[in-house]
Amino acid sequence: MAGDRAAYADLVRRHHPRVLRLCLSLLGRPADAEDAAQTAFIKAYERLDSFRGEASFATWLHRIAANVCLDLLRKSAREKADSLEVLEASQTRAWRRATAGPDEAAEPARRRDLLENILGPLSPEYRLALTLKEVQGLTYEEIAVELGWTLDSVKARLRRARLKLAENMRHFKDSPDVQKEKGS
Protein backbone atom coordinates (compact mmCIF):
# COMPACT_ATOMS: atom_id res chain seq x y z
CA MET A 1 0.00 0.00 0.00
CA ALA A 2 2.96 2.26 0.75
CA GLY A 3 3.68 2.88 -2.88
CA ASP A 4 0.14 3.13 -4.07
CA ARG A 5 -0.23 6.85 -4.44
CA ALA A 6 -3.57 6.70 -6.21
CA ALA A 7 -5.12 4.73 -3.35
CA TYR A 8 -3.61 7.16 -0.87
CA ALA A 9 -5.10 10.12 -2.75
CA ASP A 10 -8.51 8.50 -2.24
CA LEU A 11 -7.82 8.22 1.50
CA VAL A 12 -6.81 11.87 1.67
CA ARG A 13 -9.94 12.83 -0.29
CA ARG A 14 -12.18 10.85 2.09
CA HIS A 15 -10.65 11.87 5.43
CA HIS A 16 -9.29 15.39 5.02
CA PRO A 17 -12.45 17.40 5.91
CA ARG A 18 -12.62 15.80 9.37
CA VAL A 19 -8.88 16.08 9.95
CA LEU A 20 -8.96 19.73 8.88
CA ARG A 21 -11.82 20.43 11.25
CA LEU A 22 -9.95 18.86 14.15
CA CYS A 23 -6.84 20.91 13.35
CA LEU A 24 -8.89 24.07 12.96
CA SER A 25 -10.62 23.51 16.31
CA LEU A 26 -7.27 23.01 17.99
CA LEU A 27 -5.17 25.66 16.28
CA GLY A 28 -7.69 28.36 15.42
CA ARG A 29 -6.06 29.82 12.34
CA PRO A 30 -7.10 28.21 9.01
CA ALA A 31 -3.59 28.49 7.52
CA ASP A 32 -2.05 26.75 10.56
CA ALA A 33 -4.75 24.08 10.45
CA GLU A 34 -4.13 23.37 6.77
CA ASP A 35 -0.37 23.07 7.32
CA ALA A 36 -0.92 20.75 10.28
CA ALA A 37 -3.39 18.58 8.38
CA GLN A 38 -0.99 18.31 5.44
CA THR A 39 1.85 17.35 7.79
CA ALA A 40 -0.39 14.71 9.37
CA PHE A 41 -1.20 13.14 5.99
CA ILE A 42 2.47 13.09 4.99
CA LYS A 43 3.45 11.47 8.30
CA ALA A 44 0.67 8.93 7.94
CA TYR A 45 1.90 8.04 4.44
CA GLU A 46 5.44 7.59 5.68
CA ARG A 47 4.22 5.36 8.52
CA LEU A 48 1.67 3.30 6.58
CA ASP A 49 3.78 0.20 7.14
CA SER A 50 3.27 0.60 10.90
CA PHE A 51 -0.54 0.79 10.63
CA ARG A 52 -1.62 -2.52 12.16
CA GLY A 53 -5.36 -2.15 11.74
CA GLU A 54 -5.92 -2.41 15.51
CA ALA A 55 -7.88 0.84 15.34
CA SER A 56 -9.69 2.19 12.30
CA PHE A 57 -7.63 4.13 9.78
CA ALA A 58 -9.55 7.29 10.77
CA THR A 59 -8.67 6.85 14.45
CA TRP A 60 -5.01 6.21 13.60
CA LEU A 61 -4.94 9.25 11.32
CA HIS A 62 -6.61 11.49 13.92
CA ARG A 63 -4.04 10.43 16.49
CA ILE A 64 -1.27 11.56 14.15
CA ALA A 65 -3.08 14.85 13.43
CA ALA A 66 -3.73 15.43 17.14
CA ASN A 67 -0.06 14.91 17.94
CA VAL A 68 1.02 17.28 15.17
CA CYS A 69 -1.33 19.93 16.64
CA LEU A 70 -0.16 19.16 20.17
CA ASP A 71 3.44 19.85 19.16
CA LEU A 72 2.41 23.14 17.56
CA LEU A 73 0.38 24.18 20.62
CA ARG A 74 3.31 23.43 22.93
CA LYS A 75 5.62 25.43 20.70
CA SER A 76 3.12 28.29 20.53
CA ALA A 77 2.70 28.24 24.34
CA ARG A 78 6.48 28.64 24.75
CA GLU A 79 6.59 31.53 22.30
CA LYS A 80 3.72 33.60 23.70
CA ALA A 81 5.09 36.96 24.65
CA ASP A 82 2.01 39.07 25.38
CA SER A 83 2.04 40.96 28.64
CA LEU A 84 -0.24 39.86 31.48
CA GLU A 85 -2.36 42.97 31.07
CA VAL A 86 -2.94 42.33 27.36
CA LEU A 87 -3.84 38.69 28.05
CA GLU A 88 -6.26 39.62 30.83
CA ALA A 89 -7.97 42.23 28.70
CA SER A 90 -8.40 39.88 25.74
CA GLN A 91 -9.71 37.06 27.94
CA THR A 92 -12.14 39.38 29.67
CA ARG A 93 -13.58 40.44 26.32
CA ALA A 94 -13.67 36.85 25.08
CA TRP A 95 -15.56 35.50 28.09
CA ARG A 96 -18.03 38.34 27.99
CA ARG A 97 -18.81 37.68 24.34
CA ALA A 98 -18.78 33.89 24.61
CA THR A 99 -21.35 33.91 27.39
CA ALA A 100 -23.49 36.64 25.81
CA GLY A 101 -25.28 34.30 23.39
CA PRO A 102 -25.07 32.57 20.04
CA ASP A 103 -24.97 35.76 17.97
CA GLU A 104 -21.62 36.71 19.43
CA ALA A 105 -20.04 33.67 17.84
CA ALA A 106 -21.72 33.67 14.45
CA GLU A 107 -18.81 34.99 12.39
CA PRO A 108 -16.05 32.35 11.97
CA ALA A 109 -13.01 34.61 12.38
CA ARG A 110 -14.49 36.23 15.48
CA ARG A 111 -15.49 32.87 16.92
CA ARG A 112 -11.97 31.49 16.45
CA ASP A 113 -10.55 34.56 18.10
CA LEU A 114 -12.82 34.02 21.12
CA LEU A 115 -11.81 30.38 21.32
CA GLU A 116 -8.15 31.25 21.12
CA ASN A 117 -8.50 33.64 24.02
CA ILE A 118 -10.56 31.25 26.11
CA LEU A 119 -8.67 28.02 25.41
CA GLY A 120 -5.24 29.60 25.06
CA PRO A 121 -4.55 29.60 28.83
CA LEU A 122 -5.26 25.85 29.06
CA SER A 123 -2.42 23.41 28.73
CA PRO A 124 -2.24 21.87 25.22
CA GLU A 125 -3.24 18.46 26.61
CA TYR A 126 -6.34 19.83 28.36
CA ARG A 127 -7.30 21.69 25.22
CA LEU A 128 -6.88 18.57 23.09
CA ALA A 129 -9.00 16.41 25.40
CA LEU A 130 -11.74 19.02 25.58
CA THR A 131 -11.77 19.58 21.83
CA LEU A 132 -12.05 15.87 21.07
CA LYS A 133 -14.88 15.55 23.57
CA GLU A 134 -16.84 18.53 22.30
CA VAL A 135 -16.07 18.47 18.57
CA GLN A 136 -16.04 14.75 17.91
CA GLY A 137 -18.32 13.71 20.78
CA LEU A 138 -16.01 10.85 21.71
CA THR A 139 -16.37 8.79 24.89
CA TYR A 140 -13.55 8.59 27.44
CA GLU A 141 -12.52 5.23 25.98
CA GLU A 142 -12.51 6.53 22.41
CA ILE A 143 -10.37 9.52 23.36
CA ALA A 144 -7.98 7.19 25.18
CA VAL A 145 -7.64 5.04 22.04
CA GLU A 146 -7.36 8.01 19.70
CA LEU A 147 -4.63 9.71 21.72
CA GLY A 148 -2.92 6.67 23.21
CA TRP A 149 -3.62 7.95 26.74
CA THR A 150 -4.88 5.98 29.71
CA LEU A 151 -8.54 6.23 30.65
CA ASP A 152 -7.68 7.92 33.97
CA SER A 153 -5.53 10.44 32.16
CA VAL A 154 -8.38 11.34 29.82
CA LYS A 155 -10.81 11.81 32.71
CA ALA A 156 -8.34 13.84 34.75
CA ARG A 157 -7.48 16.17 31.87
CA LEU A 158 -11.11 16.76 30.96
CA ARG A 159 -11.94 17.46 34.59
CA ARG A 160 -9.09 19.93 35.03
CA ALA A 161 -9.90 21.62 31.72
CA ARG A 162 -13.54 22.21 32.71
CA LEU A 163 -12.65 23.40 36.22
CA LYS A 164 -10.05 25.78 34.82
CA LEU A 165 -12.55 27.17 32.31
CA ALA A 166 -15.08 27.78 35.10
CA GLU A 167 -12.43 29.47 37.22
CA ASN A 168 -11.37 31.72 34.35
CA MET A 169 -14.92 32.57 33.45
CA ARG A 170 -15.68 33.63 37.04
CA HIS A 171 -12.49 35.65 37.22
CA PHE A 172 -12.91 37.50 33.96
CA LYS A 173 -16.67 37.98 34.09
CA ASP A 174 -16.26 39.63 37.47
CA SER A 175 -13.26 41.73 36.45
CA PRO A 176 -13.64 45.51 36.97
CA ASP A 177 -13.53 46.12 33.21
CA VAL A 178 -16.63 44.03 32.63
CA GLN A 179 -18.40 45.31 35.72
CA LYS A 180 -17.85 48.85 34.44
CA GLU A 181 -19.28 47.97 31.02
CA LYS A 182 -22.29 46.30 32.62
CA GLY A 183 -23.00 49.37 34.67
CA SER A 184 -22.82 51.76 31.75
Binding site: H16, T99, I118
Partner: protein, 151 residues
Protein backbone atom coordinates in the same frame (compact mmCIF):
# COMPACT_ATOMS: atom_id res chain seq x y z
CA UNK B 1 -24.05 14.89 49.74
CA UNK B 2 -20.72 16.73 49.79
CA UNK B 3 -20.21 19.42 47.15
CA UNK B 4 -17.22 17.60 45.58
CA UNK B 5 -19.44 14.62 44.85
CA UNK B 6 -22.04 16.85 43.20
CA UNK B 7 -19.29 18.50 41.19
CA UNK B 8 -18.09 15.10 39.95
CA UNK B 9 -21.62 14.37 38.79
CA UNK B 10 -21.84 17.73 37.03
CA UNK B 11 -18.57 16.98 35.26
CA UNK B 12 -19.89 13.58 34.21
CA UNK B 13 -23.05 15.28 32.94
CA UNK B 14 -20.97 17.72 30.87
CA UNK B 15 -18.92 14.84 29.47
CA UNK B 16 -22.12 13.00 28.52
CA UNK B 17 -21.18 10.15 30.83
CA UNK B 18 -23.83 10.57 33.56
CA UNK B 19 -26.45 7.80 33.77
CA UNK B 20 -29.91 8.98 32.78
CA UNK B 21 -31.35 8.13 36.22
CA UNK B 22 -29.00 10.65 37.93
CA UNK B 23 -29.68 13.60 35.64
CA UNK B 24 -32.70 15.18 37.28
CA UNK B 25 -30.98 15.20 40.69
CA UNK B 26 -27.90 16.89 39.23
CA UNK B 27 -30.01 19.46 37.35
CA UNK B 28 -31.75 20.27 40.60
CA UNK B 29 -28.41 20.73 42.37
CA UNK B 30 -27.09 23.02 39.60
CA UNK B 31 -30.12 25.29 39.95
CA UNK B 32 -29.20 25.90 43.57
CA UNK B 33 -25.38 25.96 43.39
CA UNK B 34 -23.59 28.91 41.77
CA UNK B 35 -20.24 27.07 41.54
CA UNK B 36 -21.76 24.19 39.60
CA UNK B 37 -23.86 26.60 37.53
CA UNK B 38 -20.64 28.42 36.53
CA UNK B 39 -18.99 25.11 35.74
CA UNK B 40 -21.76 24.24 33.34
CA UNK B 41 -22.00 27.75 31.86
CA UNK B 42 -18.28 27.86 31.07
CA UNK B 43 -18.30 24.43 29.46
CA UNK B 44 -21.45 25.19 27.50
CA UNK B 45 -19.97 28.45 26.17
CA UNK B 46 -16.87 26.66 24.91
CA UNK B 47 -18.89 23.75 23.57
CA UNK B 48 -21.11 26.14 21.59
CA UNK B 49 -18.07 27.84 20.05
CA UNK B 50 -16.36 24.57 19.17
CA UNK B 51 -19.46 22.95 17.71
CA UNK B 52 -20.18 26.02 15.58
CA UNK B 53 -17.06 25.24 13.54
CA UNK B 54 -18.46 23.49 10.48
CA UNK B 55 -16.56 20.69 8.81
CA UNK B 56 -14.71 22.14 5.80
CA UNK B 57 -15.90 21.05 2.38
CA UNK B 58 -13.86 18.49 0.48
CA UNK B 59 -11.10 20.26 -1.43
CA UNK B 60 -9.25 18.84 -4.43
CA UNK B 61 -6.71 21.63 -3.99
CA UNK B 62 -5.86 20.25 -0.57
CA UNK B 63 -5.65 16.67 -1.92
CA UNK B 64 -3.31 17.80 -4.69
CA UNK B 65 -1.11 19.75 -2.31
CA UNK B 66 -0.76 16.70 -0.05
CA UNK B 67 0.01 14.40 -3.00
CA UNK B 68 2.63 16.82 -4.34
CA UNK B 69 4.29 16.97 -0.93
CA UNK B 70 4.41 13.20 -0.44
CA UNK B 71 7.82 11.63 -0.66
CA UNK B 72 8.25 9.61 -3.84
CA UNK B 73 8.36 5.82 -3.77
CA UNK B 74 10.12 4.84 -0.63
CA UNK B 75 13.20 2.70 -1.15
CA UNK B 76 12.26 -0.86 -0.36
CA UNK B 77 14.81 -2.54 1.91
CA UNK B 78 16.70 -5.42 0.31
CA UNK B 79 15.22 -8.67 1.57
CA UNK B 80 17.75 -10.49 3.67
CA UNK B 81 18.62 -14.04 2.53
CA UNK B 82 17.72 -16.65 5.10
CA UNK B 83 19.61 -19.93 5.65
CA UNK B 84 17.03 -21.92 3.68
CA UNK B 85 17.25 -19.51 0.76
CA UNK B 86 21.06 -19.62 0.94
CA UNK B 87 21.15 -23.43 0.86
CA UNK B 88 18.69 -23.52 -2.01
CA UNK B 89 21.17 -21.71 -4.25
CA UNK B 90 24.46 -22.71 -2.64
CA UNK B 91 23.96 -26.48 -2.97
CA UNK B 92 23.58 -26.69 -6.77
CA UNK B 93 26.28 -24.03 -7.21
CA UNK B 94 28.68 -26.07 -5.08
CA UNK B 95 27.82 -29.27 -6.96
CA UNK B 96 28.39 -27.53 -10.29
CA UNK B 97 31.73 -26.20 -9.10
CA UNK B 98 32.87 -29.63 -7.92
CA UNK B 99 31.81 -31.22 -11.23
CA UNK B 100 33.71 -28.63 -13.23
CA UNK B 101 36.81 -29.14 -11.06
CA UNK B 102 36.73 -32.91 -11.53
CA UNK B 103 36.37 -32.60 -15.27
CA UNK B 104 39.40 -30.31 -15.47
CA UNK B 105 41.58 -32.06 -12.90
CA UNK B 106 41.12 -35.66 -14.15
CA UNK B 107 40.55 -35.64 -17.88
CA UNK B 108 42.14 -39.10 -18.38
CA UNK B 109 39.48 -41.08 -16.65
CA UNK B 110 37.52 -41.34 -19.89
CA UNK B 111 38.53 -41.48 -23.55
CA UNK B 112 39.94 -38.22 -24.76
CA UNK B 113 37.89 -36.48 -27.36
CA UNK B 114 39.41 -36.21 -30.79
CA UNK B 115 38.76 -32.54 -30.80
CA UNK B 116 40.86 -32.12 -27.61
CA UNK B 117 43.86 -33.56 -29.47
CA UNK B 118 43.14 -31.34 -32.42
CA UNK B 119 43.26 -28.26 -30.27
CA UNK B 120 46.39 -29.30 -28.43
CA UNK B 121 48.49 -30.53 -31.32
CA UNK B 122 47.24 -28.49 -34.23
CA UNK B 123 47.44 -31.54 -36.55
CA UNK B 124 44.71 -32.45 -38.95
CA UNK B 125 41.54 -34.05 -37.63
CA UNK B 126 41.85 -36.98 -39.97
CA UNK B 127 45.34 -37.86 -38.71
CA UNK B 128 44.24 -37.61 -35.13
CA UNK B 129 41.23 -39.81 -35.67
CA UNK B 130 43.39 -42.49 -37.25
CA UNK B 131 45.85 -42.23 -34.37
CA UNK B 132 43.10 -42.63 -31.87
CA UNK B 133 41.80 -45.66 -33.71
CA UNK B 134 45.23 -47.20 -33.63
CA UNK B 135 45.55 -46.54 -29.93
CA UNK B 136 42.32 -48.37 -29.33
CA UNK B 137 43.10 -51.28 -31.60
CA UNK B 138 44.23 -53.70 -28.87
CA UNK B 139 40.92 -53.18 -27.09
CA UNK B 140 38.96 -54.06 -30.21
CA UNK B 141 41.13 -57.11 -30.75
CA UNK B 142 40.41 -58.31 -27.24
CA UNK B 143 36.75 -57.79 -27.74
CA UNK B 144 36.22 -59.36 -31.15
CA UNK B 145 39.31 -61.52 -31.54
CA UNK B 146 40.46 -59.94 -34.81
CA UNK B 147 43.81 -58.18 -35.17
CA UNK B 148 44.39 -54.96 -37.05
CA UNK B 149 46.57 -56.78 -39.51
CA UNK B 150 43.64 -59.06 -40.39
CA UNK B 151 41.69 -56.02 -41.43
Amino acid sequence: MRHELWRDKVLALLDGELPEKDRSGVEEHISSCSDCADLRAASQAVSRLLKAEAEPASSETFVRSVMRALPHAKAQPEPSMGLGELLRWATPAFALGVSAFLMIAEPGTSDPLATDDLLLTGVSEETTLLGALEDRAPDFEDLIGISVEDL
